[in-house]
Amino acid sequence: MKNFKLASKLFLLTAILISSVLLVAYVAVNRLAAVNTHVQHLVESTIAKVNRTSEMHVRFLGGVRAQKNAVLSPDDETSANYAASSRAAFTESREAISKLNELVLQDRVDGQSTAVEELIKAFEKAEEVNNQVLDLAIQNTNVKARQILSGAIQRDVENLNKRLQLWVDESMTKGATDADLVKRLVTLYAMHDNVVSIPFTAAKHIEPLTVEEMTALEKKVEDFLEKIQSGLALASGGDLSSQSDVRNRISDMKVSLAKLFQLSRLDTNNRSAEISLKPSKQAADEVVKRVSKLEDLLARESDSGSKLSAAAYASAIWWILGTTLLGILLGGIVAYLVKESVTKPVFEVRNLAQAMAAGDLRSRIQLNQQDEVGELSDATNSLADSLSRIVAQIQKVSEGLASSAEDLGGVSNHLLSQSEATSLNATSVASAAEQLSSNINTMAAAAEEMSVNVASISSASEEMSMNVGTISSAAEQTSSNVSAVSTAVGEISSSFTDVLNDVREGSRVAGEASRMADSATATIQTLSQSGTEISKVTEAIKMIALQTNLLALNATIEATSAGEAGKGFAVVAHEIKELANQSAKAAEDIARKIEGVQNDTRQAVQVIQNVSQIIKDINASSGRISLSVEKQTRAASMISQNVGEANKGVGDIARSIAEVAKAAGDMSRNVAEAARGATDVSRNVGEAAKAAGGISSDIHGVSDASRSTNQSASKVHDSAEDLDRIGKELKKLVGRFKINSEDITTE
């Protein structure tokens, strides 16, 4: 933005303003179109639906009215006309409904299609009922029945009555027997009653009755006719032509009555009135209810439609206003930005020029614009740079001048102060030289005294040296004695070690002997075990011997029993006995021998145990010996250690004494040197006194020279001050310009 040329910035501003205007216009058009659609919808569909509904309602009501008229009107033609007009009205109403349905389905508003469907259902029901009513109404059966009654039947009845009257008159005139007359009269009167009852009953039949009642009445009439017919013969008095006449009339009447009954049964007037009053009314009411509901819905629709269009209008207003504001805002922001990018740099250039006029060359303009204003600011910056550089150079030259003047001033001051100090020092030195000569004299006297003291020290140290020699020899002897002791102890120690080794050897041997004793014991145990086993065998042999003995006994018994024949066997028995005895003896022998061996074994075991015990004792005592030997060894080594230390101590003593002797020797030497030195000192002191006098005269010369130096220094100081003043003036002139430090270049 900052780098655009001024012309392009203004162009941008104009473009934004125009585009915002266009946007507003577009939005307005859009919103107005929305309003328009709502209004159109309202007019086209909602109003049309309302019209159709009301048309349907009107026609429906007209149809119902015509229906009622059809029911009420007594003659067929008017009924038929009314019926036709009712049907036509219903048809027109149906057409209106279907058109309404089309519109509703097109629109698809909530609830309306269901309401229309319900309306259609109700309407169809109403139409059906209406048709029922009309079908009945046009028949007018009751009226017709009444007509028959009042017409044909009345005529017939009257005829019959006339005839009966004739017969009555006839019978009166004829003058038959009383009984016959009476009978005829009675019959005639009964017939008259019956004849009169017939129209009465028929009239009753026409009224609204149940089927059973109607059947009963018909039966009654039939009865009457029967009675009439049955009484006819008697009543007529034998007149066949009048009889047949009456019979013809009766059959005519029967026909009329049949027709009457048929018509009366149909009872269409009553029924149609009934239907018209109740079901038809209900259906009509239902239809009206639905129609009003639909009208409500349509009213709601039109209401909502008008609300929508109002809302659309309101939203359109808001949109337009909003867009307008947005455009204004955007244009305002861009205008502001453009203005800023132009005016701010111009102000900065102005400020810079003013500062430079006031003498402040430090500030620069920090603009990064590429347009005309930016170029202007760059040029101003470069002007300030060159001016500040020139001023900086002048400042530097003036500062150099000022510093040189200062230096000169400093040097002259220094010179002045130094010359003053020099003259002061010269005075102090003179006084010090006098003091020095007096001190030297004092020193000479002291040196004399010192030499006397030194001689006495020298003799004392010689004596000390002799004593130290005696001590040294004694120490040497002690040292040699201690060494002898040490060696003896070492020998003891080594002999103890030998003893220890021997004892250990002995212990080992004892251990071996013990082990061997144990093994011997074990072997003897084995031997003893073997002895036991042999004993067992011996027992077995004894048993065998016993058995053999028994065998021999039995054999002898048998042999003796056998007598002579058994003598050979007796020999055998004898031999067996001998064998048994020998076996027994042998077994006993073995047993005895075993016994002996076991005894010896036991003795041997005893001996071995004794030996073992002795070995253990030996082991124990060798252990004890070993312990005590160790103790002795430790003691000997401790003695050795102590002796070593004593030796060392004695050695130290010897060394120290040697050193003391050496020190004593040194000391006597030093004392001799000190005596020599004292003599030198007194000599030197004399020479120093001489030198002090020379120094004093030199110092006076120095003092004169320094005074003259002082005078020249003050002159130099005055000139330096003049120079300094000039430098300061120049600096003040240049100091009015303020510049940056980086512009000051070093030369």
Partner: protein, 162 residues
């Protein structure tokens, strides 16, 4: 009791009871055995130890100690059963403490006993029926018993008891 001083030397099967040496004529002895499994007889006298089965034959076993009037002792490993031949008595034997040897004794060294000497010590002892002779050995006396009397003694004792 067969006293025969002029016959050949007789052999006696000797055994010990209570340490004393007794014997019987070997011609009376059938066998000496170690079998000691008796089957006791109920209600039998004490002298009858029971029945013994020897190789299928049943013998009666008597306790010699009781027969001699000594207290009985339990059977030991030394105890032997001496079975007699039928001539001495039918199928019986006696149990003795231990068996000794077969001694041959010449008649001159045998002293017989007889009932004709009522004042002898043996009679007073009440064993006169059992003992038939005394034999003199080198260092001991051998009391010769009469086995035929054993069963009779038992019967006597039985009848005396009942």
């Amino acid at each position: 009791m067969k006293a025969s001083p002029l016959e050949n030397p007789r052999l006696f099967c000797s055994f010990r009871v209570e340490g004393k040496l007794y014997g019987v004529d070997i011609l009376d002895v059938k066998e000496v055995t170690t079998e000691m499994m008796y089957t006791r007889i109920a209600h039998a006298p004490d002298e009858v130890l029971g029945l013994v089965n020897i190789r299928g034959h049943i013998h009666l076993a008597l306790d010699l100690r009781r027969l001699l009037g000594l207290p009985p002792i339990p059977v030991t490993g030394e105890s032997r059963l001496v079975l007699f031949k039928p001539i001495a008595g039918h199928s019986f034997g006696v149990v003795v403490d231990s068996i000794s040897e077969i001694h041959t004794i010449t008649p001159d060294r045998l002293e017989t006993f007889s009932l004709a000497e009522p004042a002898s010590l043996a009679t007073q002892l009440g064993q006169v029926d059992l003992i038939s002779a005394i034999g003199k050995l080198a260092d001991e006396l051998l009391v010769v018993l009469n086995p035929r009397r054993f069963l009779t003694i038992v019967e006597q004792n039985l009848t005396r008891a009942t």
